[in-house]
């Protein structure tokens, strides 16, 4: 590389809102279901049907706009984007071009080295999702499933403010957290409830002008986004270095082969013939409505992080990790409210929960463990009803089971490690008598030698006692 280049990236992020019903009709948005089972004349584009806006969609779009510091458009409108494709039942998509619901926002992102910066949001608009084409290889026929047709989406369009893949990931993470905290979407890239298109161009460092950008689609994981950005930066720099020109085009990323290929060039760009949808009346957003939505705003991650440290006394690291997933904060706050010790709950979430999530590739919201059961488990350990090893065993069972009550489970499976005090004392005495060498070492100051005696006790007790307590007892006896 002979020159110093700078990458300029803007994102178009589609987020599927988690309303119960579709954006313009009463059909269920539930994923799955037999093809065309969540379909009515409206979302199937039947002649004579008319769209009616689901207020919940508007509500959630405004909530996302407020959380990302946008101006809310007081008089917003829907427009039709006209293009022919079989998954698009009317052959136009109802979207917003001229008066999107939110504009001029910004979100603060934090990079790994602690630096912070703002990414500006150009606009957020509401639109309907399309159906899905299903190809039957056996008959060589293609079928259309309109279950997804009319599922509400918001598209969040950023300004070209990002300068590295790290910034892009930080921006997406911030959006995801914010929207999850709002309860507006689960924002899962791999399931398609969050989709990102990357607009990227290269320019010489210090240049004020933008280079020609490409738009890359089909990115369904953070890793794919990162790989695609690195790949596209390299591709564009190579072209420029070789004296060529980057073409303005839409590209498709193939994450298996780790390369992108052009889908359509600017010349092929369709004329969508946007115009205001006459079937939908303009949307007026009142001050009152904005205030209402604001009042319902949850505590977001930055505030929660500070509160966890100040009120719950958690270390910064813990507060950061737990607040990365809204569901973990719900478990923590729920268990603490039931009287469990915050740090102990946090330890369970940070170590065991996160380990199990990683090992089984499970998202936090799929955890079956309730805050109540977590609190019970913590208390079982605290009261020495069970030791840590047993607690882990119970936890592993409970984490993916529907409402497994740890108290009941310990009882039913006779897992209590609470030893009879008299019995334990007798065993400790027996252990001391049986390990004169260790006793001698301890007395000589080799405190680690206690392990042999503890081990003897644990073996005799068949694990049903608390190692900490055993330790204490041995020391008492020897002093």
């Amino acid at each position: 590389m002979s020159k110093d280049y700078e990458v300029v990236i803007g994102l178009e992020v589609h987020v599927e809102l988690n309303t119960k019903t579709k954006i313009f009709c009463g059909c269920s948005t539930e994923f799955g279901g037999a093809p065309n089972s969540h379909v009515c004349p409206v979302c199937a584009g039947m002649p004579g049907s008319l769209p009616v806006l689901n207020k919940e969609v508007l509500h959630k779009a405004i909530a996302v706009g407020l959380a990302t510091n946008c101006d809310i458009t007081r008089d917003s409108k829907f427009d039709r984007k006209n293009y022919f494709y079989p998954d698009n039942p009317q052959n136009y998509q109802i979207s917003q071009l001229y008066f999107p619901i939110c504009r001029n926002g910004k979100v603060e992102i934090e990079l790994k080295d602690g630096t912070k910066k703002f990414v500006r949001i150009h606009e957020i608009h509401m639109e309907e999702d399309a159906g899905k084409l299903v190809h039957d290889a056996a008959t060589d026929e293609t079928y259309v499933d309109f279950n997804r047709s009319g599922v509400p989406l918001i598209e969040i369009v950023s300004e070209p403010d990002m300068r590295s893949s790290e910034e892009v990931i930080a921006y997406l993470d911030t959006l995801r957290e914010t929207i999850q905290y709002l309860g507006a979407s689960d924002c899962k890239l791999n399931e398609g409830s969050m989709r990102a298109d990357v607009n990227l161009s290269i320019r010489e460092k210090g240049s004020e002008e933008f280079g020609t950008r490409t738009e890359t689609k089909n990115l369904n994981s953070f890793k794919a986004i990162q790989r695609c950005i690195e790949n596209e930066i390299g591709r564009q720099i190579d072209i420029i270095e070789e004296g060529g020109k980057v073409m303005q085009e839409t590209r498709r990323w193939d994450d298996d082969k780790e390369y992108s290929y052009p889908m359509r060039s600017k010349e092929d760009a369709q004329d969508y013939r946007y115009f205001p949808d006459p079937d939908l009346v303009p949307i007026h957003v009142s001050e009152e409505m904005i205030n209402e939505i604001k009042a319902e705003e949850p505590e977001f991650r930055p505030a929660k992080k500070i509160r966890y440290q100040e009120e719950l006394g958690l270390p910064e690291y813990d507060a950061d990790q737990i607040t990365s997933e809204k569901h973990l904060t719900e478990l923590l706050e729920g268990a603490v409210a039931l009287g469990a010790d915050a740090k102990k709950v946090s330890n369970w979430l940070m170590t065991e929960t996160m380990r199990l999530m990683k090992e089984t590739s499970t998202d936090a919201d799929k955890l079956k463990f309730s805050a109540e059961n977590l609190a019970k488990l913590v208390k079982l350990v605290e009261s020495k009803e069970i030791n840590n090893a047993v607690a882990k065993e119970v936890f592993e069972k409970a984490v993916f089971a529907e409402n497994l009550d740890p108290e009941q489970y310990v009882k039913d499976n006779n897992m209590s490690t609470k030893a009879d005090a008299g019995q334990l004392e007798a065993v400790v005495e027996k252990a001391i008598a049986a390990n004169p060498k260790a006793v001698e070492d301890i007395k000589a100051g080799k405190s680690k030698a206690i392990g042999a005696i503890v081990g003897f006790v644990m073996k005799e007790m068949k694990g049903k006692c608390d190692p900490g307590e055993v330790n204490k007892l041995i020391n008492q006896k020897l002093n």
Binding site: P41, A44, G45, M46, P47, G48, S49, L50, P51, V52, L53, R80, N82, F84, P86, P89, Q90, N91, Y92, V144, D271, R273, Y274, F275, P278, D279, L280, V281
Partner: protein, 496 residues
């Protein structure tokens, strides 16, 4: 009751006769079906006659009336519905090839309200394809003839509905009006028609032409029938975002013979060049009648009339080009039998499925929406639309009713306008502004030309003020001496 007596009744009169036990819904339905047998071969008001389901509905209505569970002015009364309103289980083709086999899974709200009131649906009336036309000649299923003179068109696009009422093939009919499609055929066929205020009647189930202009309305034998039906179909519908939620819908209360002090404005722009002298004479005579009955009649300048047609065709065609995209051969309707790939399927299906006038308007609409032309045409047309509304608002500060002709001429001869679409578009000059401004309008007979073709009088009212124009129309109707009343169909009977 014998057939002639039934056919001579208005819808409301027939409803009363059925309620009084003087006749039955089945008897009335049979009378209309008989009349169709006699005259349909010559007139062709219907695309589809649904005799079987009509008789079944009539039997059910008679039983419910007898049981006392069904009352109301339209209980058991046979009516017709324009072929662009969805009815569950009833082929709804919009008189197009592309929807030749289309059977909806739901019923349009306006139609449902009449069904619930006990009306019996006789069949689906002919229309210009997708309501695009002013003559009913663009129908894929062949033209409808004007009952007053079979060589002439019935007007359009609700030509089938107007002709069916005029030829006594139904007691009343539903039509739709995007640029005059109820009022102009009513005028050509010597019947009464109301285009309600935009938003008054739900559009749910009406297959859209120009969504921001379309309204469903009644075509009937007199003002009373139209007011009665309008009252029944006006209601807020949560399935139509543009439907109004208002309670000023007791239109029958406005059936009062009193125009004393009513301020009526005659726009000079509606009486200038291009207006047939016989039409002018009849309409001015109608104004004089109202003046003699105590109304204050004045001439004024409305303005902007010459901009109404271009603005209308830009907006209506733009919306139509998008509304008609869903007819693509993928989900329902006609699909071309031979195609190479998806693109060729779309292209061939739409090329073969749509008629020339529909294609012309799709192309015009696509053009005015395309990038680079959008501002010059579509946005400008919207601006004109607002200016026209402002001009009417200003006029209605002074007048309660605006009076003028419905069309520049009486019914044209068949074939005259198809060859010259621009000429056909110009025939909409007095009707399209009303749709652009969203106002209510009524058309009712006010005379005949030398050839015996009916002349229509148009009364326009302020937004949601149907009552005032209904009162003015009713008053005129009470005084107007209609020397013919009905077309003479004895010559066509039995002609197939």
């Amino acid at each position: 009751m014998e057939k002639e007596k039934i056919l001579a009744l208005t819808a409301v009169e027939l409803g009363k006769a059925i309620a009084a036990g003087e006749t039955t819904s089945v008897e009335a339905t049979k009378a209309y079906l008989d009349q169709m047998d006699a005259v349909e071969g010559a007139i062709h008001s219907y695309v589809t006659v649904e005799a079987e389901s009509a008789l079944a509905a009539a039997e059910a209505a008679d039983a419910a009336i007898k049981a006392g569970t069904l009352t109301g002015p339209l209980a058991g009364v046979p009516i017709a519905v324009k072929d662009n309103m969805c009815i569950e289980g009833s082929r709804t083709s919009c008189s197009s090839h592309i929807l030749e086999n289309f059977v909806p899974t739901f019923t349009a709200t306006a139609v449902k309200r009449l069904q619930d009131a006990g009306a019996v649906i006789l069949g689906r009336t002919n229309m210009d394809e997708f309501a695009m036309g002013s003559t009913t000649e663009t129908s894929y299923y062949g033209p409808t003839s004007n009952p007053w003179n079979l060589e002439h068109v019935p007007g359009g696009s609700s030509g089938g509905s107007a002709a069916a009422v005029a030829a006594d093939e139904c007691a009343m009919a539903l039509g739709s009006d995007t640029g005059g499609s109820i009022r102009q055929p009513a005028s050509f066929c010597g019947v009464t028609g109301i285009k309600p205020t935009y938003g008054r009647v739900s559009r749910y189930g009406l297959i859209a032409y120009g969504s921001s202009l379309d309204q469903i309305g009644p075509l009937g034998k007199d003002v009373t029938d139209c007011a009665t039906v309008l009252e029944m179909i006006s209601a807020h519908d949560e399935k139509d975002s543009t439907s109004a939620d208002r309670d000023d819908i007791k239109f029958t209360e406005a059936l009062v013979d009193d125009v004393k002090g009513l301020k009526i404005g005659l726009p000079r722009d509606y009486f200038g060049e291009g207006l047939d002298p016989e039409v002018k004479e009849a309409v001015l005579a109608a104004a004089e009648t109202l003046r003699l009955k105590g109304a204050i009649v004045e001439e004024f300048d409305l303005g902007l009339v010459e901009y109404a047609i271009p603005a209308y065709y830009v907006i209506a065609c733009a919306e139509a080009s998008s509304n008609l995209e869903r007819f693509d051969g993928v989900k329902y309707g006609f699909r071309t039998p031979d195609y190479a790939d998806l693109h060729s399927m779309y292209k061939k299906t739409r090329s073969e499925g749509f008629g020339p006038e529909v294609k012309r308007r799709i192309m015009l609409g696509s053009f005015v929406l395309s990038s680079g032309y959008f501002d010059a045409y579509y946005v400008k047309a919207l601006r004109v639309k607002h200016m026209i509304k402002d001009a009417f608002d200003k006029a209605f500060e002074k007048y309660d009713v605006i009076l003028g002709p419905c069309a520049p001429t009486t019914a044209l001869k068949k074939g005259q306008s198809l060859s010259d679409p621009l000429k056909m578009y110009l025939g909409d000059i007095y009707t399209v502004s009303v749709n652009l401004a969203g106002l209510p309008g009524i058309s009712l007979p006010c005379g005949y030309d030398a050839n015996g073709l009916p002349i229509g009088l148009q009364l326009l009212g302020q937004t949601f003020d149907e009552k005032t124009i209904i009162r003015a129309a009713y008053s005129f109707e009470q005084t107007f001496v209609d020397e013919k009343k009905k077309p003479d169909l004895t010559a066509v009977e039995g002609r197939a």
